[in-house]
C-alpha cells in the first residue's frame, strides 16, 4: 500500500461488520479501509453481499455487529458495541456526508434535473434558492447536462438521468461517494457517458466506494479492488494483481472466468 495511507487515517473504516437476514448471513465480519482520494471497487457474484455492504455505509441497512466509521465517527449507532440507533436527526446529518448513486437512478420525478440537485442543498445544507441553483448548474455542467437543468427526469434518457443522479450526490460535497451498480440498468450504449463522469470525479480526488460489473472500468479507475464471496472479503489488492489470471484465489479465478465467458 502507498505511504499516503499511513499518513492519513482511513476515511472510511469498516471493521468486522456482520449482518444476517434471519438465518442467512449476508455479511460475515467484513473489514475494509478506504483512505481519502481512493477509489475502491467491490466485485463478486450476486448474493455475495456487495450491495448490502455499500448500503450499510450510509445506514440504509442496519448491521448486527462490528463498526463503521467515517472520519472517525461511528455511523448508525451511538457507540460501537451498543446497538442503540442514532436519532433520526443524527442519521440524516450523517447521511448527508455520504453521497449515494443508485442502480435505478431514483431521481425525484416531480422535480426538474436542477430541482433534484437543489433539494438537498436547500433543505439539508440550508442554501438559498439562488445559491442552490448556481451549484446545481455548476454540477449539471460538469456532467454535460447544463442544457437540461429544467427538464423533468421523464424527459431524460437513462444515461442522462444517471448523470443527474451523480450530480445530485456530489453537489452535497460528500466525504465519500457510494456507487451501487450505477450502469447496470442502462442500455450498453449509454454506459460510457456515465463512466466518463465517474472517471473525471476520480481524477478530482473524490473518494469512492463502488460496486460494479464493469471489469474494464474497475481495472482502469480503481486504486484497489475488493472481491467478495459469501458475505466476506475474499481478496483485496490493486487491480493488476486481483484481475491477473494467476492470482492465488480459486473462487476469484472461477468468478472472473465465468464473468469473461458471459461478457466477451
Amino acid at each position: 500500500m502507498s505511504k499516503a495511507s499511513h499518513a492519513n487515517p482511513a476515511l472510511l473504516d469498516i471493521s468486522e461488520v456482520s449482518k444476517a437476514f434471519g438465518s442467512v448471513e449476508v455479511l460475515r465480519s467484513v473489514s475494509l479501509k478506504v483512505t481519502r482520494g481512493e477509489v475502491v471497487t467491490v466485485i463478486g457474484p450476486s448474493g455475495s453481499g456487495k450491495t448490502t455492504l455499500l448500503r450499510c455505509v450510509n445506514f440504509l441497512e442496519s448491521y448486527d455487529n462490528g463498526s463503521i466509521r467515517i472520519d472517525g465517527k461511528e455511523v448508525g449507532y451511538r457507540e460501537a458495541g451498543t446497538r442503540q440507533r442514532r436519532s433520526e436527526r443524527d442519521l440524516a446529518a450523517m447521511r448527508a456526508e455520504t453521497g449515494m448513486v443508485f442502480q435505478s437512478f431514483n431521481l425525484f420525478p416531480h422535480l426538474t434535473a436542477a430541482g433534484n440537485i437543489m433539494l438537498g442543498l436547500r433543505k439539508v445544507r440550508g442554501k438559498s434558492n439562488a445559491e442552490a441553483r448556481t451549484i446545481a448548474e455548476h454540477w449539471l455542467g460538469r456532467v454535460g447536462l447544463a442544457h437540461k437543468a429544467d427538464s423533468l427526469p421523464a424527459e431524460l434518457s437513462g444515461g442522462q438521468q444517471q448523470r443527474v443522479g451523480i450530480a445530485r450526490a456530489v453537489a452535497m460535497e460528500p466525504k465519500i461517494l457510494l456507487l451501487d451498480e450505477i450502469t447496470s440498468a442502462l442500455d450498453p450504449e449509454l454506459v460510457g457517458e456515465v463512466l466518463e463522469v465517474v472517471r473525471s470525479l476520480a481524477e478530482d480526488g473524490m473518494t469512492m466506494l463502488m460496486v460494479t460489473h464493469e471489469m474494464a472500468f474497475a481495472r482502469d479507475a480503481s486504486s484497489r479492488i475488493v472481491f467478495m464471496a459469501d458475505g466476506g472479503v475474499s481478496a483485496v489488492g490493486p487491480p493488476a494483481e486481483i484481475l491477473a489470471a494467476d492470482f492465488d484465489n480459486e473462487r476469484l479465478r472461477s468468478f472472473l472466468a465465468r464473468f469473461r465467458a458471459s461478457h466477451f
Partner: protein, 216 residues
Amino acid sequence: MLSQIIYALPFLAQGFAVTLWVSLLVVVLSLIAGVLMGVGLVYGPAPLRWAVRIFSDTIRGIPILVLIFFVYYGLPAVGLHLESFWAAVLALTLFKTAQVVEYLRGAVGSIPKGQSEAAMAIGLTFRQRLAYVIFPQAFRRFLPPWINGVTDAVKGSALVSLLGITDLMQAINQVIGRTYEAMPLYLLGALVYFAVNYALSLASRRLERRFSFIRE
C-alpha cells in the same frame, strides 16, 4: 306554488349553509386525522399500526347511520354528552377519517421504495422526506379518491337531519310539511347537492391535470 317556494328560499339557504358547514368541518377534520393516522399506519411502530388498522377496519364495517346514532344516543351511556350537531360531525368525521387513512396508505404505498432511500441518502429527515419527496408524488394518487370522498361527505351530511339538525335536507322536509310541494322541493334539493358535487369533481379534474406531469 312558486311563491310559496320563493317565500321559503331564505330558510332553505340557511339549511344549505348548515350542510356546507357540516361538510367542511367533516372534510377538514377527517383530512387532518386521516393523514396523521395514515402516516402512522405506513411508517409507525407495530402497536400504532395495529391500532390504526383496527380503528379503520372497525369504522368502515359499520353503516354510517348506525355510527351517527351510536355517537348521539350511545355515548351518553359512558358519560359523553354531545349536542346533536357535534355528535353528527364527530360520527361523520370518524367515518371519513377511516376512508382517508386508506386513501393515504394506497397513495403513499404506491411510491417506490427507492424514492425514500434517495431522499435519505441526501440527508433529508423523515418529515422532510414526507414533505418534499413522498407527499408531492402521492398527492396525485390521493386526490381522485379523496375528492370522491368529499362528494360523499356532502351527500352523507344529509343524514344529520335525522338528529333534527336543520340542514338543507331537514329544511326541505319542513317546507314540504307546510306546502305539500314535495316534487319541486326535492328536485330543488337534488339540484343543489348535484351542483356542489359537480363543481367539486370539475375542480378535481383540473387539479389532476395540473399534476399529471409527474410520471414514474
